[in-house]
Amino acid sequence: MQLKEDKIGGILVLKPLDKRFDAHSAVDFKARMADFVSSGHTVIILDLSEVDFIDSSGLGAIVSALKTIGRNGDLVLCGIKETVMSLFRLTRMDRVFRIFTDQGEATAALSS
């Protein structure tokens, strides 16, 4: 999976550039997220604005990243399209994650 990386202060902003976040890309994403966390990045914004499709494996990989970060860090999401958001709602994952409209809103919330 292609991931665009940015750093805003102590926050790591990750933006998947692949349109589809599915069972095939989820394996690579989980490994990459584990690497980011083990190298000290525990406050992460995941910008899903380029993602047109996510399946349960993609959702599971994001949950896995949240667990890896644990309670001493934060993983928030932003930029989720309405169709993709419908799957978060269906699986109640919209209650698990803090979800923001865009990177600016997410950064402000994590910086306050």
Binding site: R20, D22, A23, H24, F53, D55, S56, S57, L59, G60, A61, V63, S64, L66, K67, G70, R71, E82, T83, V84, S86, L87, L90, T91, R92, R95, V96
Partner: protein, 155 residues
């Protein structure tokens, strides 16, 4: 008049490799976008088919490539039906379509097992049968837009 007056069908066959599933997903999404579904419904129906094919590859074939997964898509005047078949290990589906968890309980959040839940939530009809050496998952979804009009309320 409805764009879909008679039954049309297409068969997709892929090798049992997760790398191929997006081809099925893209095709189903395109067909469902043409059919009188709301945009979110079309997306969720496409996701359900992807979940079913993922399950066949992961569970029936144990993630081993070199086997076939067939997806028959039947577009009817009332709705769309999918028949996903494989020749792998039969799956146990009883009771596995529930998704119960506490969103606050970080350690016990589900990382898997959501595919069947999604299928059962989205589709109007789901049936799984084993015919000896062949497993067949049939799923149906009725249109949620008026097929007589071009614009769908809620889109």
């Amino acid at each position: 008049m409805s764009r879909i007056k008679t039954t049309s069908s297409i068969r997709l066959t892929i090798d049992s490799n997760l790398n191929n599933v997006f081809l099925v997903g893209l095709t189903v999404e395109a067909i469902c976008s043409y059919a009188p579904f709301k945009a979110v419904t079309a997306y969720q129906v496409g996701t359900s088919v992807v979940e079913a094919v993922n399950n066949a590859i992961k569970h029936a074939y144990g993630n081993q490539p070199g086997h076939q997964v067939e997806v028959d898509i039947l577009l009817n005047p009332e709705g769309v039906r999918f028949e996903i078949s494989d020749t792998g290990r039969p799956m146990r589906l009883q009771g596995s379509h529930k998704l119960e968890y506490d969103p606050e309980d970080l350690e016990n959040l589900p990382e898997g097992g959501m595919g069947l839940f999604i299928i059962n939530q989205v589709m109007d009809h789901v049936e799984y049968k084993n015919f000896g050496d062949r497993n067949l998952l049939t799923m149906g979804k009725y249109y949620d837009c008026d097929p007589q009009v071009d614009l769908c309320e809620g889109d």
